[in-house]
Amino acid sequence: MAEVTLTIDNEKVSAREGQNLLQVIREQGIDLPTLCHLDGLSERGGCRLCVVEVEGSSRLAASCVTAVREDMRVTTASDRLLRYRRMLVELLFAERNHVCSVCVMNGNCELQSLATRFGVDHLRYEPLYPRLPTDASHEKYTIDHNRCVLCARCVRVCDEVEGVHTLDIMGRGVSSRIINDLNQPWRASRTCTACGKCVQVCPTGALYIKETLSAHVEKRPDLPRRIVDARKKRVWNS
């Protein structure tokens, strides 16, 4: 595969053609924040937290869905980028009902951790406080739409790794919502295998195993990578 050379934060870097910017940036040891990205799943470019500045373009580019190009000049950290990332995290909090103190993922939540990283101790936007349901009809799992950030990791792992595509997204924009099959109660799904991968990759407390208490859940977001490596590379010990 052809090599390309680009500049990331004023450093010359080599990459393979076809790689996306996020991969190359992370290979350089730069801790670029992400939320919808997960190793082992296809990229979505939904959360926009991995945005970078590319010289010659006035628009910010989501690095997870931007392919590397010869002579690209990329900036991963600037006041503008930090401002936007913080704004994105605040908007995620303002969009639904996130109450960390009583959430199963308190202390292990990726959204909470991003808020800590960007110093989000208050919101500058009026929260929407939407009235959203909780579906506890499944025997083992619960989906609480109040805590969902629509990263669609669950949708992708269900489709790409488990191969059943029970989960999907209905609606548009702020009204979007994760659904089972054709928007049926989870209990009624005839396609769900109850494998629980959706729960393990959910970055917040939106999907969780029943009977768990706040602050005592640790999920396994490494699961898709391990399964994909096992299938494709026959590697089981990573």
Partner: protein, 477 residues
């Protein structure tokens, strides 16, 4: 140097925001006194549609002083929805954490909130009449209070993972067992705590000789008393049956199943307070006034059930007049110390139980009942959590009857009694205002878990003329 974390919690004199109004007649005499609770929390509403599994965590956030009581009452309501018997070890562990909760909460009430009035004087300099004044004038007493509270908090921390808002009790049992390695360090806390409690009781008895006016007028009236007792009639805080006693000592309810509380009690509502006004149904809103909490519990039980507590309970009953139950709310201070002693003895006894470190601490089940009631004796009195859920366990309806609610009618009667005894109508002194506040403080009401910085105004007193117009308002430090 070893890394240390020093945490200073906000210091309060009452727990939450309240307001007192006094109504005067033409001659300046107090005709009506009302204690208003002006916080609106809305927990019963915001719990709707939440899975009942979350309820112990959500409802423990009602309060920062007694989160453990809410957590346990909620978990008990959850047990009833599951329809399970929790493992015996879980039952003992829940009792253990609850006794620790009573120790720390009562210590807070006695030493941090009330001792400044009791030791420095009801009408002493308000700048000094607080925990900091106590530290400078009575350092040993202050240290004892802080240490005693620490003992309770430490047991909660070891069991629940953290001392405030532990996420530990769950429908069906508890999240984690007690590690055997922790037993010895917990047991080691008890002897000193018992010493502190016994010498504080002695000190209190010396001091109380100068408080005959307060004893007479700080809520001394005949009323009903309600509390849990064990099936054998002993002092009980976690389980048992409801007992209701009248002002003459006659038992009106001998052993009512707590889940039937709606048959016995009704809740009144007034437009001027967000706190409800429960009363004993068979006697109606006036005659059905009852008190809960340490005084009521010591009145309704036959005996405590531990050697040291039984001894001091016997001495406590010196306040009985003509064989009637102890009727002065001021004696709640002493009752709290007696309960601390009882809890410490029970903690020690339970830590010695061979099965306390058992690892089977949780029963599992689905939704087997559509409703569940959890009842517990919280530090301030009987606490009910009553949930209705759908088939999936999502909460449809919540009713919480908290201790400060049970005592609402009694608190209002108490401040009226104090206002009449100590007010002369023409002049309102700061000392008089503090007496009013102490009348509330003896019930140790937990109006919410809001906090106050030392020196900021915490409560308001309003003076209303005969037509109801505001004459003057005062803020109490």
């Amino acid at each position: 140097m070893e890394k240390k974390t020093v945490t200073i919690d906000p210091v309060t004199r009452i727990e939450g925001h309240g307001k007192i109004t006094l109504q005067l007649d033409e001659k300046g005499h107090v005709t009506r006194a009302r204690f208003h609770v002006t916080d609106f929390r809305g927990f019963e509403k915001l719990c709707e549609q939440r899975p009942f599994w979350e309820m112990p965590d959500i409802t423990s956030r009602i309060c920062g002083i007694c989160p453990v009581s809410h957590m346990l009452a909620s978990a008990k309501a959850g047990d009833a929805i599951l329809g399970v018997h929790i493992p015996p070890t879980a039952h003992k562990l829940r009792r253990l954490i609850h006794w620790a909760q009573l120790v720390q909460s009562h210590a807070l009430s006695f030493f941090h909130l009330s001792a400044p009035d009791l030791l420095l004087g009801m009408e002493s300099d308000p700048q000094e009449r607080n925990i900091l004044g106590l530290v400078s004038r009575y350092p040993e007493v202050a240290k004892d209070g802080i240490r005693l509270r620490q003992v309770g908090q430490e047991i909660i921390r070891v069991l629940g993972g953290k001392s405030v808002h532990p996420s530990w009790a769950v429908p069906g049992g508890v999240r984690a067992p007690l590690e055997p390695g922790k037993l010895e360090s917990l047991q080691a806390l008890i002897p000193q705590a018992i010493d502190i409690t016994e010498r504080t009781l002695e000190l209190y008895r010396e001091k109380i000789e100068g408080f005959s006016g307060e004893i007479e007028h700080y809520g001394d009236f005949s009323s009903l008393y309600m509390g849990l007792v064990s099936p054998g009639g002993e002092l009980e805080h976690y389980d048992g049956v409801l007992r209701v006693m009248d002002g003459g000592g006659k038992i009106l309810e001998k052993g009512a199943p707590p889940e039937n509380y709606r048959d016995i009690f009704s809740e009144g509502v007034e437009s001027w307070s967000f706190l409800k006004f429960p009363y004993y149904k068979p006697l109606g809103p006036q005659e059905g006034l009852y008190r809960v909490g340490p005084l009521a519990r010591l009145n309704v039980c036959d005996r405590a059930g531990t050697p040291r507590a039984d001894r001091v309970l016997e001495e406590f009953r010196r306040w009985q007049k003509n064989g009637r139950p102890v009727s002065g709310s001021f004696h709640m201070h002493e009752a709290r110390l007696i309960e601390i002693l009882f809890c410490l003895e029970k903690i020690s006894e339970t830590l010695s139980d061979a099965h306390i470190t058992g690892t089977h601490v949780r029963s599992h089940a689905g939704v087997n009942a559509r409703a569940g009631v959890g009842v517990i004796e919280a530090p301030r009195g009987t606490l009910f959590h009553d949930y209705h859920v759908d088939d999936e366990g999502l909460v449809q309806e919540v009713n919480l009857v908290v201790a400060s609610g049970h005592n609402n009618l009694a608190m209002n009667r108490t401040i009226l009694q104090i206002a009449r005894a100590f007010g002369n109508g023409s002049e309102i002194t700061e000392g008089f205002l503090n007496r009013m506040e102490h009348g509330i403080r003896i019930y140790d009401p937990c109006l919410s878990c809001s906090t106050h910085v030392v020196g900021r105004h915490a409560s308001r007193v309003e003076l209303l003329g005969p037509s109801g117009g505001l004459l003057r308002s005062f803020e109490i430090l």
